[in-house]
Amino acid sequence: MDAFVRHTGKAVAFTRDNVDTDQIIPKQFLKGIERTGLGPALFHDWRYQPDGTPNPDFELNRPAAQGASVLVAGRNFGCGSSREHAAWALADAGFRAILAPSFADIFFANCCQNALLPVRLEASEIDELWRRCQQMESGEGGYQLTVDLETQRVTDPRGFTAQFVIEPYRREMLLRGLDEIGRTLLEESRIAAFERRLAIGAAGRAS
């Protein structure tokens, strides 16, 4: 997995609560067998009109939102389906971090698996970031945010600073870009011992 240490990039406000993974990546894009190439389908049904042309009213289609890599989202972001395609699509579209007051559990885990950093901030901090995004998005380079996993801090050049909490395990995996499966396979002897102890056989637990 790629590592995430710190990232500075253009932030964009996405002021909706309860954005579900069906909106992030609709089902017609789940039929592939690859992880890549989903960026153009991100938020498909909001982003494009039924005739396939971009929807000018969709906030991420505004010129100021182009090139954004930090999504400042609302509560319960990523609820619904477990489709990891949602995280793949966001990453493929250039996002490196998502800041929100809360995330759905499965989506949060999926982001961590793809070095797309999910950052929980206080709702008041997200409100402040939305205000700053909207104030400063039209300036040169837009509104730039730095997300630092090492210091667990989100900062902007104008004095905004917010501390965030992330599980030490997730932080370590992301900072070092470790292969989680490879790491678990190092515990092979413990896994095998667990299976022997409980005599887990072909028909499930034989007890």
């Binding site: 069906d22 089902k27 789940l30 319960n76 489709r83 395990y169 056989g201 499930g204 637990r205």
Partner: protein, 479 residues
């Protein structure tokens, strides 16, 4: 020993190792696999030269994008066909058992696990699908995972997990006549909200839960994820044991007796504490119907579409206004009487034999309204065969329903079963998100009996006022 929750008992029994940073390596007893969220996981194994550690604890089927029409015809959608072929290849290459479209055991992954008896109390069960919570009805810890975690389980039979919090959802009293498990869970989600149980595992307890059949318990646990919980659990009891006894993959003979003894320990101890507790009087519930674009946007059939102005926060007012615009509903509109174009009976929430029987009791001797196109998609080929033995296929077809083969179908519209833009659907599925059943489609979630009544009436209607038919004589014989 301190009093433990049901969740804690199952969790503790599966801890292989505590990692120094806090989470544990949790052992998985059963890994269910389907075509949509697995190809990249098998691809990852291939790239890394890894094997499936326990193919014998892994079970695959096809459900999400399969056509539900004539199975003798080739699949129209080449992309879907390629994904189905990929699963067949992966299952063969990695030695995983697959129930494909030719199998009599094919069906929605959360329907076939229980009906085979593969789902058992006390297990940890995972699948790359958020409705894996369904299996918690048996007192298993069952939850959805992403594709990277699917790959992790394939390779190691374990997951790295941090211990979630617990929420006890306690239902006192009994559901009134005509009010179902679907109404119970929709009422719960309406109360706590779609993020109300995020970070938690729900334990459903109380008299109303104990009175539910296994299939009804599956409906309840299935929608735990719609309240934000990755898993929902119900302590196994006589109802559970009676359901499991004699199923093909359930223990038999002396192993059954030993398993039962172990399963009887699986309940929250008296005095066990939960991080959060919600109590609801089931006797006060009525049939529920969603009006918006999230399962939490729900009221009972006697209710009206709410006014965005009545909500507390600006964010809620905006979300409700957006939902009403999408649903083409004006504030104050009574839900009863709202015309529907389509009716969908099926899904991992309500595609089991009991659901079809409940709907058939409403439908028998009546006709689907001429303005409505109605579809029955059994949750599995076994459910379909059972319904046909009971004559339910005739009941539905005589009334004007289409009778299909098993799959997820219009619950998520990955196959050809989709709503057209602007169509309004009474659906027994689990999600009413924008575009879920087809771009521009408008979904109202409800119970099978309510959906069946909507098909006949041509509009949303309170089924409690309806006289229910006896099922065909063949059912009496079959049961």
């Amino acid at each position: 020993m301190t009093a433990r929750t049901l969740f804690a008992k199952v969790w503790d029994a599966h801890v292989v190792h505590r990692l120094p940073e806090g989470p544990v390596l949790l052992y998985v007893d059963l890994h269910l696999v389907h075509e949509v969220t697995s190809p990249q996981a098998f691809g990852g194994l291939r790239l890394a030269g890894r094997r499936v550690r326990r193919p014998d604890l892994t079970l695959a089927t096809v459900d999400h994008n399969v056509p539900t029409g004539d199975r003798t015809l080739p699949i129209d959608d080449p992309v879907a066909a390629r994904q189905l072929e990929a699963l067949a290849t992966n299952a063969r290459d990695f030695g995983v058992e697959l129930f494909d479209l030719r199998s009599a055991n094919q069906g929605i992954v959360h329907v076939i696990g229980p009906e085979l008896g593969a789902t058992q109390p006390g297990m940890v069960i995972v699948c790359g699908d958020s409705h894996t919570s369904t299996h918690g009805a048996f007192g298993a810890l069952a939850f959805g995972i992403g594709t990277s975690e699917v790959e992790h389980v394939l390779a190691t039979q374990c997951l790295v997990m941090s211990k979630p919090r617990t929420l006890e959802a306690h239902f006192t009293g009994r559901l009134p006549p005509g009010v179902t498990a679907k109404d119970l869970i929709l009422g719960f989600i309406g109360r706590v909200g779609t993020a109300g149980a995020t970070g938690h595992v729900i334990e459903y307890t109380g008299e109303a839960i104990g009175a539910l059949s296994m299939e009804e318990r599956m409906t309840v646990c299935n929608m735990s994820i719609e309240a934000g919980a990755r898993a929902g659990m119900i302590a196994p009891d006589e109802t559970t044991f009676a359901y499991l006894a004699g199923r093909p993959r359930a223990p038999a003979g002396a192993a059954w007796a030993r398993a039962r003894e172990r399963w009887e320990e699986l309940h929250g101890d008296p005095g066990a504490t939960y991080d959060t507790r919600v109590s609801i009087d089931a006797a006060t519930l009525a049939p529920h119907v969603t009006w918006g674009t999230s399962p939490g946007m729900v009221t009972d059939i006697l209710g009206r579409v709410p006014d965005p102005a009545g909500f507390a926060t600006e964010a809620e007012r905006r979300a409700v206004a957006q939902a009403l615009a999408y649903m083409a509903l004006a504030p104050g509109t009574p839900l009863a009487g709202l015309p529907v174009d389509r009716v969908f009976l099926g899904s991992c929430t309500n595609g089991r034999i009991g659901d079809l029987r409940a709907a058939a009791r409403v439908v028998r001797g009546r006709r689907v309204a001429p303005t409505v196109r109605a579809l029955v998609v059994p949750g599995s080929q076994q459910v379909k065969a059972q319904a046909e033995r009971e004559g339910l296929d005739r009941v539905f077809q005589d009334a004007g329903f289409e009778w299909r083969n098993a799959g997820c179908s219009m619950c998520l519209g990955m196959n050809a079963d989709v709503l057209r833009s602007g169509e309004r659907c009474a659906s027994t599925s689990n999600r009413n998100f924008e575009g879920r059943q087809g771009r521009g489609g408008r979904t109202h979630l409800m119970s099978p009996a309510m959906a069946a009544a909507a098909a006949v009436a041509g509009c949303l209607v309170d089924v409690r006022a309806w006289e229910l038919a006896e099922l065909p004589a063949s059912f009496e014989l079959a049961s």
